[in-house]
């Protein structure tokens, strides 16, 4: 315990150094802007700004990106509450009661409660991250290649199981990402795979151009041509103070949202989005007056907003302790760390404690920065919505191109960005999740290496995956999830056989 606090003190010394503090500030501001802008979620925002972080030292880069991530969670609530436009997916539930409060003239109080709930949840969940990550990492030090392989497979299967749509579609996307990760030089034999004469592909398909294309460019393609926003409500400072009754109503939902968000955030999948739905449902069920939900219930704002901020910290637990990103945003952040020569995982805390504890401390600092930024300057952030989209998206496109090119000084990366942008656009039109592609791409080299190392350890005996307890348990859980997720296909197949008869196809598709 004492060692933890000593480490944290060292982390604060780093996080409060002027340069790191500056990047925490910049990250929080950019994240808030990203959250405020509808359509540019944290994923697209981090993807687009990732290349900018390459010129920084590793700690500053990660602090900047983390600031964007949780800044976007704060910022997303602003447009939800004031305009009923969710800045990002995790703010959808806030729209319902947040906007209803605005219509009743309590928009300022809703913003304040959302910001304070986010602050409390963000801070408490960092405490959880601080105490949970080190022992988890210590446990993971026992992992050899078979355990790592099982962990990566389990991570992909949990993500596919937790995805909103069909598991087969999510798994197909993960397999596509893993296949993209096969391009380049095989680390074990040195053989150049699927290069088609392009030497730039030696290091493989870059995560940065792929992520920028799949999330950033596809978002621009989907939202181009839309009209500028209409009326924008700007709350005044004195409207930002909640009443005593509102404070009382918000306290317990903030606490519950914090715990729920953190626990859901740890599980692979879009935890920050799911946690808001769960929190809203829990608050509604526990309320003595559930009929107030949808009419401006304080609990409907405080709970989900706390949950989504708490989930962002939860998502860092498996990434920092196990080297397993729990979703697309942690996957991109993990890629950023790897570009800086840092390998997230069990050895990170031992080998680079300054980096780990500096990051933890910067999250505390970031939460304070966000609280300071979000309330007094809410009117300024809302003004961003006045910029016509016709000017905004060409600027984002130019920045994206510059950023992607700057990674390797290669136009091949710009082509990859363009092609993955088209791929992401079509897949999103077809209701496919694209996050598993990025996760697959990031995990592919590790997955292949641990698989082949495991077989080398056992002289080609596949029983190694069943005889080691941790591996067997993880693969067993993965298999159960796979069967549960694919159950609708089998039941559908039964239905299809039962439906054979007059005009079955017409009935099925009609």
């Amino acid at each position: 315990m004492l060692e933890t606090f000593q480490n944290l003190a060292g982390g604060f010394a780093l996080a409060l150094s002027p340069s790191v503090l500056l990047y925490a500030f910049v990250g929080c501001i950019v994240g808030t802007l990203v959250g405020v802008l509808p359509g540019v979620g944290p994923l697209a925002g981090i993807s687009l700004l990732l290349p900018v972080s390459f010129g920084l030292n590793p700690t500053a880069a990660i602090v900047l990106l983390a600031g964007i991530y949780y800044g976007a969670m704060y910022g997303g609530s602003t447009t939800s509450i004031l305009m009923r436009i969710p800045g990002e997916a995790a703010s959808v539930m806030t729209c319902i009661d947040g906007y209803a409060m605005t219509q009743k003239g309590r928009g300022g109080a809703a913003l304040a409660l959302a910001a304070i709930g986010s602050y409390v949840a963000g801070t408490v969940s960092v405490v959880g991250l601080m105490f949970l990550a080190p022992p988890l990492a210590e446990f993971a030090l026992r992992f050899g290649p078979p355990e790592n392989f099982a962990l990566l497979v389990l991570g992909l299967l949990v993500l596919a199981y937790m995805s909103g749509g069909s598991m087969a579609k999510a798994l197909a996307m993960a397999a596509l990402g893993l296949l993209l990760g096969m391009i380049g030089i095989d680390t074990m034999t040195g053989i150049f795979r699927f290069h088609y004469g392009l030497v730039e592909l030696g290091d493989g398909v870059g995560v940065v151009p792929t992520a920028v294309g799949l999330f950033g460019i596809s978002e621009i393609l989907l939202s181009a041509g839309r009209a500028t926003r209409g009326e924008i409500h700007r709350p005044r400072m004195r409207e930002l103070l909640p009443s005593r009754q509102e404070w009382r109503e918000a306290a317990a939902p903030i606490g519950r949202g914090t715990v729920l968000g953190f626990l859901i955030g740890i599980i692979p999948g879009p935890g920050h989005v799911i946690s808001t739905f769960v929190s809203y449902a829990v608050e509604r069920r526990l309320s003595k007056h559930p009929e107030r939900f949808g009419q401006g219930a304080v609990e409907g704002v405080a709970g989900p907003e706390s949950a989504n901020n708490s989930a962002t910290s939860g998502a860092f637990v498996p990434m920092l302790a196990l080297g397993l990103p729990s979703g697309a945003v942690p996957a991109i952040m993990m890629a950023a760390m790897m570009i800086h020569g840092i390998s997230p995982g069990p050895l990170l805390i031992q080998q680079q404690p300054q980096m780990f504890w500096g990051f933890i401390a910067s999250m505390y600092v970031g939460n304070v920065v966000l609280l300071i930024l979000n309330l007094p300057f809410v009117g300024i952030f809302v003004n961003l919505l006045r910029i016509p989209y016709g000017y905004l998206y060409p600027s984002i496109l130019a920045f994206a191109t510059l950023g992607v090119y700057a990674v390797n000084n290669s136009v091949v990366d710009v082509w990859i960005m363009t092609l993955t942008g088209l791929l992401g656009y079509v897949l999103r039109k077809f209701d496919f999740e694209i996050a598993p592609i990025v996760l697959g791409l990031v995990l592919a080299p590790m997955l292949e290496l641990s698989f082949r190392q495991s077989l080398a350890m056992s002289a080609g005996n596949y029983a190694i995956f069943a005889t080691r307890p941790i591996t067997a348990v993880m693969l067993g859980v993965g298999l159960v999830l796979l069967l549960l997720g694919l159950r609708p296909i089998f039941s559908r197949a039964v239905g299809w056989r039962a439906a054979i008869g007059p005009e079955p196809a017409a009935r099925r598709e009609g």
């Binding site: 087969a168 041509g225 839309r226 000017y391 060409p394 299809w496």
Partner: protein, 146 residues
């Protein structure tokens, strides 16, 4: 035709293509996989999942029901990306971004040539100054060092 069936068919074709292309790589053996083994395994997984997407699960989205109202913008934006990829190292950063922004603003967004030109000049020179001059990010130079 539903979106799942079309996407599943395309993914199936892609998986078969990967299997075909993997012939050139050494597979090794089941006990000692070579450089081609994991790609083959993944292509088979993709193949199975794609077939599952085609046959399984209720798909509510018919292909004809998807609206492509933004397709003109999408084609223009992708065309601009392709232009930037082609021109970046030939014309240099400033000229490429200037032309790309001018085309998007004046031709696609119809903001007028004056507004488009002013915005494109300010953005291309301003971003070059910020990233190249201040942050020392290496950016491609065009002919005549511009």
């Amino acid at each position: 035709m539903t979106t799942d069936r079309l996407a599943g068919t395309v993914l199936t074709a892609f998986a078969i293509l990967v299997l075909w292309e993997s012939r050139a790589l050494p597979f090794g053996s089941i006990r000692e996989p070579g450089a081609g083994a994991v790609p083959v395994l993944l292509a088979l997984i993709l193949l199975i999942c794609s077939l599952a997407v085609i046959v399984g699960g209720p798909n509510l989205y018919r292909l004809a029901a998807i609206e492509w109202t933004e397709w003109r913008h999408a084609v223009a934006i992708l065309g601009t990306c392709a232009f930037m990829a082609l021109a970046l190292e030939r014309l240099g950063y400033r000229l490429t971004i200037f032309v790309a922004l001018l085309a998007l603003l004046s031709l696609v967004e119809r903001k007028g040539w004056t507004a488009g030109t002013v915005f494109a000049v300010v953005f291309s020179l301003g971003s070059y100054y910020f990233f190249n001059t201040l942050l020392r990010v290496p950016m491609p130079q065009g002919p005549f060092g511009f």
